[in-house]
Symmetry: D3
Amino acid sequence: MARRDGRQPDQLRPVTLTRRWSMHPEGSVLVEFGDTRVLCTASVTEGVPRWRKGSGLGWVTAEYSMLPRATTTRSDRESVKGRVGGRTHEISRLIGRSLRACVDLKALGENSIVLDCDVLQADGGTRTAAITGAYVALYDAVGWLAGRKSLSGKPESVMHRSVAAVSVGIVGGQPVLDLNYAEDATADVDMNVVCTGAGDFVEVQGTGEAGVFARDQLDALLDLGVAGCAELAEAQRKALAG
Amino acid sequence: MARRDGRQPDQLRPVTLTRRWSMHPEGSVLVEFGDTRVLCTASVTEGVPRWRKGSGLGWVTAEYSMLPRATTTRSDRESVKGRVGGRTHEISRLIGRSLRACVDLKALGENSIVLDCDVLQADGGTRTAAITGAYVALYDAVGWLAGRKSLSGKPESVMHRSVAAVSVGIVGGQPVLDLNYAEDATADVDMNVVCTGAGDFVEVQGTGEAGVFARDQLDALLDLGVAGCAELAEAQRKALAG
Amino acid sequence: MARRDGRQPDQLRPVTLTRRWSMHPEGSVLVEFGDTRVLCTASVTEGVPRWRKGSGLGWVTAEYSMLPRATTTRSDRESVKGRVGGRTHEISRLIGRSLRACVDLKALGENSIVLDCDVLQADGGTRTAAITGAYVALYDAVGWLAGRKSLSGKPESVMHRSVAAVSVGIVGGQPVLDLNYAEDATADVDMNVVCTGAGDFVEVQGTGEAGVFARDQLDALLDLGVAGCAELAEAQRKALAG
Amino acid sequence: MARRDGRQPDQLRPVTLTRRWSMHPEGSVLVEFGDTRVLCTASVTEGVPRWRKGSGLGWVTAEYSMLPRATTTRSDRESVKGRVGGRTHEISRLIGRSLRACVDLKALGENSIVLDCDVLQADGGTRTAAITGAYVALYDAVGWLAGRKSLSGKPESVMHRSVAAVSVGIVGGQPVLDLNYAEDATADVDMNVVCTGAGDFVEVQGTGEAGVFARDQLDALLDLGVAGCAELAEAQRKALAG
Amino acid sequence: MARRDGRQPDQLRPVTLTRRWSMHPEGSVLVEFGDTRVLCTASVTEGVPRWRKGSGLGWVTAEYSMLPRATTTRSDRESVKGRVGGRTHEISRLIGRSLRACVDLKALGENSIVLDCDVLQADGGTRTAAITGAYVALYDAVGWLAGRKSLSGKPESVMHRSVAAVSVGIVGGQPVLDLNYAEDATADVDMNVVCTGAGDFVEVQGTGEAGVFARDQLDALLDLGVAGCAELAEAQRKALAG
Amino acid sequence: MARRDGRQPDQLRPVTLTRRWSMHPEGSVLVEFGDTRVLCTASVTEGVPRWRKGSGLGWVTAEYSMLPRATTTRSDRESVKGRVGGRTHEISRLIGRSLRACVDLKALGENSIVLDCDVLQADGGTRTAAITGAYVALYDAVGWLAGRKSLSGKPESVMHRSVAAVSVGIVGGQPVLDLNYAEDATADVDMNVVCTGAGDFVEVQGTGEAGVFARDQLDALLDLGVAGCAELAEAQRKALAG
């Protein structure tokens, strides 16, 4: 059964990864999953936060945010409200954990990398697009450090895995891949799957707020997610070869 | 292979659910998973927030917090820091989603219930203990509303499912159930499983920050989690029968 | 004339001091004045804040807070509101001053102790229960430091006095001791008295928002408060001997 | 034994109350106790906060603050720090309670008066000067309401008492009245006494952070405070007659 | 004397105005002044803030912000710091005042438009690019309201003027137009000029922090600014005709 | 055509500069422009903020604020709101830039001076009065540092220029100097001019929110502003000679 936008259940939206979209950051990517558009930048600081000094280990962290009118109706800015909301916190933490999973912090040495993922336009799947794009920006930032001979290990040992992420869900009773906003809003189950290029899991988050789900449904969603991540890993490889 | 505290891999810690621990709330439970001790209270307000008025639907939300010295070293209070941290936000949202999954908000009618889960002592698994205890407190709060004839539906249709939660993880290569703090700190994979009393999933969150995990490992963890939740559902039934 | 709960005007509610209620803190007490229930923990840090380094003096401070549903109706969390309220500030400062009065900061040496007083259930007199319980938690924390040979002086010279506190007030024209919430809400004059074990005053705070009071009324309240503190000092001695 | 500035133990500093110091407020006073200088303004709003509407009762509240360089060294602004400190909160609440004690809120009718007490220069006793000055500003604001026929009762029944406040303390073993900063910094006991013009107590706050105090010392301090307040009440009467 | 980037003193950088860059907002423009890149969106709400209801007047306001890595080194997010900084406030207010100058709020009727100007990449002149782009986004938003017949007046009477802005400054002793970051960092005088399409001034802000400036220098800067704004007005006309 | 208060278009209100109004600050001035009354204090700290250490340069900064009832209706305190507003930020930054223009930070050496400008009563022109007064307070603070031999250069080389500021505007079609509140509220164009004692510009800020302005109007306003600043510079010289 085809989806509202004509895709097959196991089909991704068109994915583009535009490297070096920004001139200042050490790594930057404009990632698009269909109409979802996220600017991912990787900012390097030589040195680590005080509590980590002398450990020999690097640090990778992430911050996610949405422009106020990335969405169909405008949201108030968190800077104006004076506090970061729960959803923002939750997604920033997910991106940070996911990206740390592909970095050998010892080989990185005492360098810090902040991944900023700013959603310029939202149409579902912003957090998974952010993870997928941030990997490419991070890769370039590590390359920049390699060029300055600032790594403790070899660049390929720093970035010892790739990571990509995709959303899956049950919409109208059917498991589907890479939900857009309209699908996400009506999904019974919503899951984000983060995988390595080798197909292992980094993170799995499934929630059935508008329902519950059985083991076989969970299995079907995991199958879709693993396949989607494999496609995205291929897109990342091409972008980095470009 | 037995665990450091002598438990079998698939064994829960001793679980207690002390109903009506507090005199003021409409529902209250002191839940203990071993040395983890969480006070869960359910506070009823007749009426709903402004944006929900006239919808005929009720509202259930949750707030999680830790006392500053619930942990081995003292943490600064979030009230003193002037902001709620990311971890707190993330857990509060998980508890809220999980508990909304067991309530029919239409049958609840325009009533609001806030579930406060305050960790008095932490030894791993505070969020899963909180969900398990909050279910019982919520049940009593719905009963209180029933006593006042304030529900739109029958109490059994309001609380149409039970929910319970447990942590599972891979520690020293072995999948184990209900990790205490020492296990949690050394786990390669950490997963929280929230199930209904009927054994369906409400929420699954697995993360491999210190590693990645394969599909068969994920399957083993899910098996453990489902079995653990079934035991907890039985403990809830007993507490509510008491 | 007996009081609504059957007590004599000069009678305390049942007082319990449960030492070592928590496993992590260096000192901890669950103190109960009737239905008022406060968890007091003492957390030790070796060293002092930067502005005090090299002074040879220790530091003792306190933070008071209420769980949101410790009271008859739920209050919003101060962490969620993003600011500590005036009442909380005022009580935290009172507890801190009172407890510093019983410690020789020179004999304590450059160690810091934070007293956290979290009200689990409120029925009047929470600040006086907190002071009374915090003394016992502080005593145990100083003992813990003594066991690690981290004090500059002998433990008995560090804790050179005991302190306890009680509320007194004029209710229905009659001076009474240790007001519960119902009495407090209707009192014309409300006073908190903090005394040492030797019967000297550490702090006296009397207020007549719903009226004013004459010198002879003040004298009667002080008499009641001094006697009440003497009983509480005896309860502290017993708890510490246990 | 005379004091460092030549005063007798029971002698106030020169007190001035300059009415109508500001052009905009309904009541305003620049109050000086020696070198301590506080601008007190009373701002009237017809109507009361939402939670009080329809009660028939008025509302009086107070806010205290210090200019950053009112003191010997500069303090950071609380607006820049983003939070009101504990000391500020505590004093604002004391001023508010004290002034509410002299107003019949029923006779005031549904009007609100905010008393702003801003310390322009500090030399000890800022909170007691603030209370003493705020009474005069409040009196003028009530007069302004009377002129608009906006009171429920007669002005003399609205302001049915006067209030004034003074600090007392034990300095160098001697009880003294109205401490300046140098005395306050070395006092063993420090007490604030708020009295009505008839000599009754509104509020008594004594603290012995650098020591404890016996009943006879407390009695001597209360005697000094009552006499000091009587002198201040006379100064208020003169200012209002002027 | 040619400038470091080869431009003449009175030459703008290449200017592009990409309309409808975003899919959700009622008006949106990606404006580029050389390497400076600002996303301007106009968000319409039918209705006005409460304090303006019933006035018959519309409301236009602006918010400016920079992505954390829009600049050569990363800045902390204002949402994370919990407060909007002074520079951000100052620029948001300038943009809002400038855009209100081109709108007849009466003809707009009771509609609100928020202009969000988010700097994606910064190379000097971000606030002037923001004003220039926001005008085009605002124009499209007013057209959207016209299409819904929601204006009180005709669209051409709502947008009765155009506004554009440019920076001018004295660099190395020479007055120059449209400074890039390298020039801005070494300018002795820095001025922002906001003009209408008819060549009148809306706002003039000149500052000589690293020096002072004489009347003839001010005159030369104003001449440059007026000419630059005329060119930008032409670019706006072309974009809106496109 | 005479103005409502009888002044000529080019006439200042009566200006007074009362030096040493406060006892604690190293420099202090109560400045009055008619009924506008601002307390300016200069607070010296030997040393500079961490990021400036070792530079050999001093630091001068300013903070502006209004007492809540400096205005015709009361405003909420920014400390209570928990954030500094945009207008406050904007004016503080203007004052800081203006005063740094008259100081040679190298000759000042590694000393910091904070200029606090607190508006005690507002009747238009508070920011220009603040700049004019802060200059005198700053001069005295530099003299205080000279007396302690803490400057790197001679005092006359530290304060190598004077600065003063005045508002000008077009009211009822006529350019006027030093607007009071009633004029400011009805002005079509409002401009602040900051000049050195030698007549050069430090800062020019003109805005036409309720209209736009032509070049000849701008010229007329600048002429008025320069002449007004010259008079204020003379008043500063007299105050400093006094």
